[in-house]
């Protein structure tokens, strides 16, 4: 006779099999094969039968010169770009997201319109929003330059997306426009779950709009904000589509993913590109662990 708890455990294990298979084949296998690829000299000609070369794709000293991903200034430039992009875009998205969420909370006849309007940018495919912004920011015919020239701020059209000084800012703004709704939804859900009596107790205690937000609402939606930051942060660190679509070749905005893709598929340096991908995974992993530790996100239940 098997005890009930043993039976329950066995049932649980059976249910876990499908997801385990999916995870192993979709996540673990590519991860391991990339790791393996990064230790080989794989290029287009010998892709199916590469030679094991150790860590030279990462770092190698050859006749007094350093080679490999870690010695490539362009790689470190892409790391810097990625981090700058992530920090600024996520910060902007959190601020805008909270603002949108608070606006969505206002009860009036326009609320359905407001909610839909807030969500639309999130629903537009990146390729569409990228092209849309590209056209709006275009130096000769773009509406943005047209307006700026019209009100006399600039004399002639500026190529915002290719100018080294502005391209990163433009990318950050497009990303914020596109993904603030995501943060807004998470924060909105957090706001909706606030216990009404607690807010009323605050009113009786003498809060006004500002003190209510600062002392009561913000601390209580902090877990929702932390979740939003983790999701958005990990997304931003992996940013590819937007940057690739706006300006694939510019080193001013090149992200780690764009760098790895270029090495692999443009230069056919599969081993080298795999090494860059592995570094990308490592860097994101380390940042994620530090962030989750710092925000105590894994202890969310105890935060209340």
């Amino acid at each position: 006779m098997k005890s009930v708890s043993q039976l329950r455990k066995r049932t649980a294990l059976i249910f876990l099999i499908p997801v385990t298979i999916v995870l192993l084949s979709s996540a673990l296998y590519p991860l391991i094969s990339t790791l393996y690829l990064s230790l080989t000299d794989a290029e287009l000609e010998n892709f199916l039968d590469p030679n094991y070369v150790g860590f030279i794709n990462y770092l190698e000293n050859y006749e007094g010169m350093w080679y490999g991903v870690l010695a490539d200034s362009l790689f470190w430039n892409s790391v810097r770009n990625t981090i700058v992009f992530s920090v600024f875009s996520v910060s902007l998205e959190v601020i805008l997201g909270i603002s949108f969420a608070l606006i969505m909370l206002i009860e009036n006849k326009l609320k359905w319109f407001v909610r839909a309007a807030v969500l639309i940018p999130w629903a537009i495919p990146t390729i569409v929003s990228a092209r849309m912004f590209e056209w709006m920011l275009q130096d000769q015919f773009g509406i943005f330059n047209y307006i700026l020239i019209g009100i006399g701020i600039i004399e002639q059209g500026k190529a915002w997306t290719t100018d080294p000084q502005t391209s990163m800012i433009v990318i950050i703004i497009i990303d914020a426009w596109k993904t603030s709704p995501f943060v807004a939804i998470l924060v909105y859900a957090g706001l909706k779950a606030l216990p009404n009596e607690v807010l009323e107790a605050g009113k009786v205690d003498g809060t006004n709009g500002i003190t209510q937000f600062y002392y009561i609402i913000f601390p209580l939606i902090l877990p929702a904000i932390a979740v939003a930051i983790v999701f958005r942060g990990l997304d931003a660190l992996r940013v590819f589509d937007l940057i690739y679509l706006i300006n694939a070749g510019s080193k001013d905005i090149m992200s780690m993913t764009v760098y790895a893709r270029r090495e692999m598929f443009e230069y056919s340096h599969f081993g080298f590109g795999a090494a860059a991908s592995t570094m990308l995974t490592l860097i994101i992993g380390v940042i994620a662990v530090i962030f989750i530790q710092r925000t105590r996100l894994h202890k969310l239940d105890e935060m209340e």
Partner: protein, 359 residues
């Protein structure tokens, strides 16, 4: 001093008229309980006094000042909520200090007042804990403490004990009564529990679908209910209601019949009544005399016997009219026995067909 005057106040939620021309005078330092079944408007009434609900018409004044348009913080009130409504991210100390911090009181004063409240409520040991780490009773004390620290003129309680278990409820009830004596503040207390109302109140206000059904001291309401609603609401088990008929009227008494079995002369009158009218006779279970002599009587089989130790309740029924009678704890009466129930005339109430009491 903080008298509260409520003058012909009306409140609508959309098309629903929830408070209908309510006028109430609440004396300074009194303990007033608003009681009624759910949906009667008692919580809305309290929230209007607190300033958490707008008033559609009429005025509410505290201490002579009309407060209709003042936000809660300017009304000099504190409120204790049913769900305690503690700030979950703050410690007990910070919960209690929050109102004072917003008033920008000095650190010393805040410390002193919070510690004083904590001492009164015996929660000094939990000051550094978060609400989540406290039991329901402790949370309720913190909620009351948060109200005390601000030294308001008026305390508002919205069903504060209804989330507690029965034993704790009795204990907190006693402590609230003590607290009221200690603080000498005006307290308004909303509950649907008539025991809380009876035990705590100086004045009970019975609300029925947005109307004040009766206001008075607990014993006034118990002894002389204005109408069937109050009669049925106050007292547990409920007052018995028996359909009856007026047999005759004299100058100071009305004679009615009891189920055609006997008649009884109740010294209460109603000018609008006349012989032959249908009336309802009301009598509380504890006033019925079981198997003894009385003014009028009724005989019936016993269907259910509830032994509570101190008393026994007998559930009787005759021709579709149920009756609950109370008798001594160690009664020998069993299910199926026939008992004779006596109606002492002095304890009987009469209500006309619209439910209004004979005086």
């Amino acid at each position: 001093m903080a008298d509260i005057n409520i003058n012909t106040v009306n409140k609508y939620f959309g098309d629903v008229h929830v408070i209908k021309d309510v006028s109430l005078d609440i004396k300074s330092q009194s303990f007033t309980v608003l009681v009624g079944p759910s949906g009667c408007g008692k919580s809305t009434m309290l929230r209007m006094i607190a300033g958490l609900e707008d008033i559609n018409s009429g005025t509410i004044s505290i201490d002579g000042q009309v407060v209709n348009d003042l936000p809660p913080k300017q009304r000099n009130i504190a409120m204790v909520f049913q769900s305690y409504a503690l700030y979950p991210h703050m410690t007990v100390f910070d919960n209690m200090a929050f109102g004072l911090k917003l008033e920008k009181r000095s650190k010393d004063e805040i410390n002193e007042r919070v510690n004083e409240a904590a001492r009164i409520l015996q929660i000094e040991d939990y000051l550094q804990r978060k609400p989540k780490q406290l039991s329901g009773g402790q949370r309720q004390r913190v909620a009351i403490g948060r109200a005390i620290t601000r030294k308001p003129k008026v305390f508002l309680f919205d069903e504060p004990l209804s989330n507690l278990d029965a034993a704790l409820r009795v204990q907190m009830r006693v402590e609230l009564a003590k607290l009221h004596n200690e603080l000498e503040a005006t307290m308004i207390y909303v509950t649907h529990d008539q025991t809380e109302a009876m035990t705590l109140a100086d004045d009970i206000v019975v609300l029925d679908t947005g109307i004040v059904s009766q206001k008075g001291s607990p014993l006034e309401l118990y002894d002389r209910p204005n109408n069937m609603f109050v009669g049925g609401f106050i007292g547990s088990p409920k007052m018995n209601f028996i359909s009856s008929k007026i047999l005759s009227k004299s100058s100071d008494a009305t004679e009615v019949d009891i189920m055609g079995m006997s008649k009884i002369s109740v010294s209460k009158m109603s000018a609008s009544s006349s012989e032959g009218d249908s009336v309802t006779l009301g009598i509380r279970p504890e006033h019925l005399v079981v198997n003894g002599d009385s003014d009028g009587s009724w005989e019936s089989k016993v269907f259910v016997v509830e032994k509570l130790g101190d008393v026994t309740y007998l559930y009787l029924e005759k021709d579709g009219e149920p009756l609950v009678a109370e008798t001594e704890g160690h009664s020998e009466i069993k299910v199926g026995d026939t008992v004779k129930v006596g109606f002492p005339a002095g304890r009987c109430q009469l209500f006309d067909s619209s439910g209004q009491a004979f005086k």
